[in-house]
């Protein structure tokens, strides 16, 4: 029944192949920058944003005065005019903000790409800065409730009175149904988290650098919201990441080897709620990720088998594993088997995955750190470098309006 729904309903809303996409191969990421990732930065978010942006602009071989566009998440708390006043950007010509939390991460690059491809701006910086660990923890119920009680979202009012008010629990509802439909056992799900922790051991910037984990550690960790254990969850982080986006023409003169954008896409299917889409036929999958994947493959002309490295937004391990299924790297319900033993997703496997440690073990900078890692892989400078990586797929937050990118060398 569900497959029939997918076939009929989803396919009906796909677009035919296009001749022309103004972003494809015409735009590149030429600079990446970040701060240290920590659990307590002792600095404010404006400060972190300034440092990351400065580092990204330096990395690109530009000066701050070259930057004429800024792109952020609506969730970012740094006031953009204040940021401009600190960085010293003489005249910003383009700005926009993408909604939907981490689901907007790749969309910031897509909007920046659209701006430079159409001449609205020359160099756009996408950034995310947050003191998620030491400051405003929106992943916790009290903070989230306060934030959302002012948000004009109809559906949350049906959830909060039942003690159901954290992203973790909302994701657990998807995960439980997925486990039920595909017969997945609670104790079999640890390999994803385990391999990401391995990657973090090679990445000195990772929060979990120097803190290896065994499968038994995974099983022994407390159940936070059943069915999610502690190490199924991303690591709250203080830090910032910034990316510099420009046209391919300008990228040719860049200091670094450009990461060209082959495809960028967003999706909000009907009956989507922010992480609580329980009234679509499918609760065991991520339709928006499927749509984004189809759009990325359509525009790029690539398929899952052409992707050399994937950086999947994994606020929870299940979120990453179900994306493997939705993006066609394995069949439905096969994500856990795909990760079993870890070899397929290790650096020399068929799909090296979240090679800096992902959101679970590197840092939770709302997925911007995943985009930066994809760029490093294409430059050949990653701490766990995939040999000869030429294409990278990056996604944004699963289970809510989302976005994705395919980058190439």
């Amino acid at each position: 029944m569900l497959d029939e729904y997918r076939t009929k309903s989803y396919q009906a809303h796909l677009r035919p192949a296009v001749d022309e996409n103004l972003i494809k191969d015409n735009v590149a990421i030429i600079g990446i920058g970040q701060t240290a990732f920590s659990r307590n930065s002792q600095r404010d978010e404006l400060d972190l944003a300034c440092e990351a942006i400065k580092n990204a602009v330096d990395d690109a071989g530009l000066s701050i005065s070259d930057i004429d566009g800024l792109e952020a998440l609506t969730l970012d708390r740094v006031s953009m005019p204040t940021l401009i006043g600190s960085l010293g950007i003489p005249n910003l010509r383009f700005t926009s903000e993408v909604s939907f939390g981490g689901g907007g991460a790749c969309a910031t690059v897509m909007h920046a790409a659209a701006a430079v491809a159409t001449g609205l701006a020359d160099y756009v910086v996408c950034y995310r800065s947050l003191n998620e660990a030491s400051g405003h923890r929106y992943g916790r119920g009290d903070g989230y409730a306060e934030y959302l009680s002012k948000a004009p979202t109809l559906h949350y009012g049906y959830y909060f009175p039942y003690g159901f008010l954290t992203p973790l629990a909302w994701a657990g509802m998807y995960a439980r149904r997925w486990m039920h439909e595909y017969g997945i056992k609670l104790d079999n799900t640890g390999w994803y988290s385990l391999v990401l922790r391995e990657y973090a051991q090679k990445n000195p910037n990772a929060i979990f650098y120097g803190k290896p984990m065994t499968y038994q550690d995974y099983l022994d960790a407390p159940m936070i919201v059943e069915p999610l254990r502690l190490f199924d969850c991303c690591v709250d982080t203080d830090g910032a990441v910034a990316l510099v986006v420009t046209t391919a023409d300008r990228a040719r003169d860049a200091k670094q080897s450009p990461a060209y954008i082959m495809a960028a896409a967003q999706s909000i299917p009907i009956e989507t709620e922010i992480q609580t889409s329980y009234n679509r036929p499918i609760v065991s999958g991520l339709p928006e990720t499927w749509y984004v994947g189809q759009e990325l493959y359509r525009i790029s002309g690539l398929g899952p088998g052409d992707i050399d490295v994937a950086e999947l937004y994994d606020p929870f391990s299940f979120g990453g594993i179900i994306q493997l299924e939705e993006l066609g790297f394995c069949g439905r319900g096969e994500g856990v088997d795909f990760c079993e033993g870890g070899d397929r997703i290790r650096v020399d496997g068929e799909l090296p995955l979240n090679t800096a440690g992902g959101l679970l073990s590197e840092a939770y900078i709302h997925g911007f750190n995943l985009i930066a890692e994809a760029v490093r892989q294409l430059r050949g400078t990653a701490t766990s470098q995939v040999a000869g990586a030429e294409t990278a797929l990056v996604t944004a937050g699963p289970g809510l309006p989302t976005s994705g990118l395919i980058l190439r060398k």
Binding site: C50, I64, S86, L87, G88, S134
Partner: protein
């Protein structure tokens, strides 16, 4: 008129926003101890008002705090004829003071009736204890 606010009402506190905008902390700490401190870039000596973590001129993240003379002139002002808040009975004037050092600060003027305030008027800083745990900087006509 000796005070531009009603001390019996709770005056809105400055948003120090420790997590988001930590840069303002030393400024308000200075005010609490009766000093008007200005942030200056340690690299290119540009004044940074309001305080911020990076110099927009040279992108340096190093800065120093310098005590202002507290003297300046009224650069502009606005007068509320309807109280904007219970703590500030009308008429209530808000002044933009240009300090001798160059930066401008928004404040209020004590010791003068709103109709007597003039652009260009010389003023100097005073510190007002608005509450036990809260000091405000204000200005008065220069001696």
């Amino acid at each position: 008129m000796t005070s531009s606010y009603d001390p019996t009402r709770d005056v809105p506190r400055p948003a120090r926003w420790e997590v988001l905008y930590r840069s303002s902390g030393p400024f308000w700490d200075g005010v609490a101890s009766g000093k008007l401190l200005l942030q200056r870039c340690a690299s290119c000596a540009r004044w940074l008002t309001p305080p911020r973590p990076m110099c927009p001129g040279c992108q340096s993240r190093e800065h120093e705090w310098v005590q202002s003379t507290g003297r300046g002139t009224v650069h502009s002002f606005a007068t509320y004829r309807h109280a904007p808040h219970p703590a500030f009975p009308a008429p209530h004037s808000v002044v933009l003071v240009e300090l001798e050092e160059g930066p401008r600060l928004v404040s209020s003027l004590v010791g003068i009736a709103p109709e007597n305030i003039a652009v260009g008027q010389a003023v100097e800083v005073v510190f007002t204890h608005a509450a036990d745990d809260f000091t405000l900087f204000q200005f008065k006509p220069a001696a």
